[in-house]
């Protein structure tokens, strides 16, 4: 991946509006371009005259497994670009608080599902999208703390394989990318709003295998603050190491801990929470 120029315009120049920034991905490789479209196609295009704020130039990917080859495969190229994008966005939008969180919405209000990797954020999100929830993100929540809202980050929804029992099956159009399968936004069962949504609640997801059902417990602002601090990515770009921003958010919205072993019960609990 490079940001330096090559001679001539690449045949694929893909433009997306991501958290109000113009992201341009250029490549000569049609397979890489198709993967980029699959994972970033949920973002709207920026105005044509908008200059790039973030630009990636992806080299042609190698086609066969070749240990020691200079260029990685197409899936690895795109995977690495996505990781780089989350960092570059934090550099561009220092006014926002970035949380490691999935985000869904219902009735125009957003629920943040915060948790460590493996806690079930994406799995829960995939299920909720089959229950009328809108999709904003499965990975990253760019929160405007002052406005009390969250920007959409509708990257393709990434699910680890194998799917859990009882999960809706993968749709046509899902693409494998390193260790996960990505479901493009166009293949999701519900809409992905292009606008920010007010944050109605923050739910800290803890997937339990030794119990049953779903238990939702209200959290004090202090406990929510501690948990949010652990889930924030760009704390050091905010005054007082992000503590005040985290606490403003924890004080301004309802916060809960969700211990869950049952996706259907989780969907029911969250439906009741927002309805």
């Amino acid at each position: 991946m490079s940001t330096s120029g090559e001679s001539g315009a690449p045949p694929f120049s893909l433009r997306y509006r991501v958290v109000e920034r113009c992201v341009v991905v250029e490549t000569r490789d049609p397979i890489v371009a198709s993967l980029v479209r699959a994972v970033l196609g949920g973002f709207a295009p920026p105005p044509e005259d908008r200059r790039a704020d973030i630009r990636y130039r992806l080299p042609p990917a190698r086609r066969r497994a070749a240990p020691g080859a200079a260029s990685p495969g197409p899936a690895r190229l795109v995977h690495d670009m996505l990781r780089r994008l989350t960092v570059d966005l934090q550099r561009q939008r220092t006014d926002l608080l970035f949380l490691h969180s999935a985000v869904v919405a219902r009735r125009g209000r957003a629920i943040l599902l915060v948790g460590a990797s493996g806690s079930g954020k994406s799995t829960t999100t995939w299920r909720l999208l089959h229950h009328g929830f809108e999709y904003l993100s499965d990975e990253l929540a760019p929160v405007d703390v002052d406005a009390g809202s969250v920007h959409p980050y509708p990257r393709a929804l990434a699910l680890k394989l194998p799917l859990h029992a009882g999960q809706p099956p993968l749709p046509a159009g899902a693409v494998a990318l390193v260790s996960t399968v990505h479901v493009p936004v166009a293949s999701l069962p519900s809409a992905a709003p292009g606008q920010s949504r007010p944050v109605d609640a923050i739910v800290f997801v803890d997937r339990r295998t030794e119990s049953s059902g779903a238990d939702l417990r209200p959290l004090s602002a202090a406990e929510a603050g501690v948990r949010l601090y652990g889930g924030a990515l760009n704390l050091l770009t905010h005054p007082n190491r992000g503590l005040d921003a985290v606490l403003r958010l924890a004080r301004s919205v309802r916060c809960f801990a969700l211990a869950t072993a049952d996706l259907q019960a989780t969907a029911d609990v969250l439906e009741r929470l927002i309805d």
């Binding site: 960092v87 806690s119 202090a222 503590l243």
Partner: protein
């Protein structure tokens, strides 16, 4: 009375690190562990054991009160701690330079417990604060 620090810890990642923090245990799990320790574990020493001189480790701390509880961000260690109302009171009084006995007496007045229980609570809380690096032993007599 639930006492001790309901502490949780999280090391902030490097600036602008957008990577997923897979290496970290869940903050909730750590909070539960330490809360359990504060609630159920026997005192790890008598009240007299904590009469050693100590100093508040305050220069690298950012402290915020939230609905009667304290959040203490230890910027040097990269950890955040949640203190319940009782632990917050103990931490505050120690930070003001109060004697341990005076803190124990105040606990008896506020929480309707007897003095031996209050002494044990103060001692246990101080031990937890020490183990979390929020107070440090020192040879300096703070008087």
């Amino acid at each position: 009375m639930k006492q001790g620090t309901e502490a949780a810890a999280q090391r902030p990642g490097p600036l602008l690190d957008g990577s997923v923090r897979r290496e970290q245990p869940s903050v909730g799990d750590m909070a539960e562990q330490i809360a359990d320790q504060g609630t159920d574990a026997p005192a790890r020493g008598s009240f007299d054991d904590h009469r050693l001189p100590f100093e508040m480790q305050s220069r690298s701390l950012i402290v915020r009160e939230v609905e009667g509880e304290l959040l203490i961000l230890d910027t040097r260690a990269g950890r955040i701690h949640q203190l319940n109302a009782t632990a917050a009171l103990v931490w505050r009084r120690l930070n003001e330079g109060k004697e341990l006995e005076a803190v124990a007496v105040e606990l008896t007045e506020r929480f309707e417990i007897d003095l031996p229980t209050a002494r044990a609570d103060v001692g246990r809380t101080l031990e937890t604060l020490r183990s979390e690096g929020l107070v440090c032993d020192t040879d300096v007599d703070l008087g």
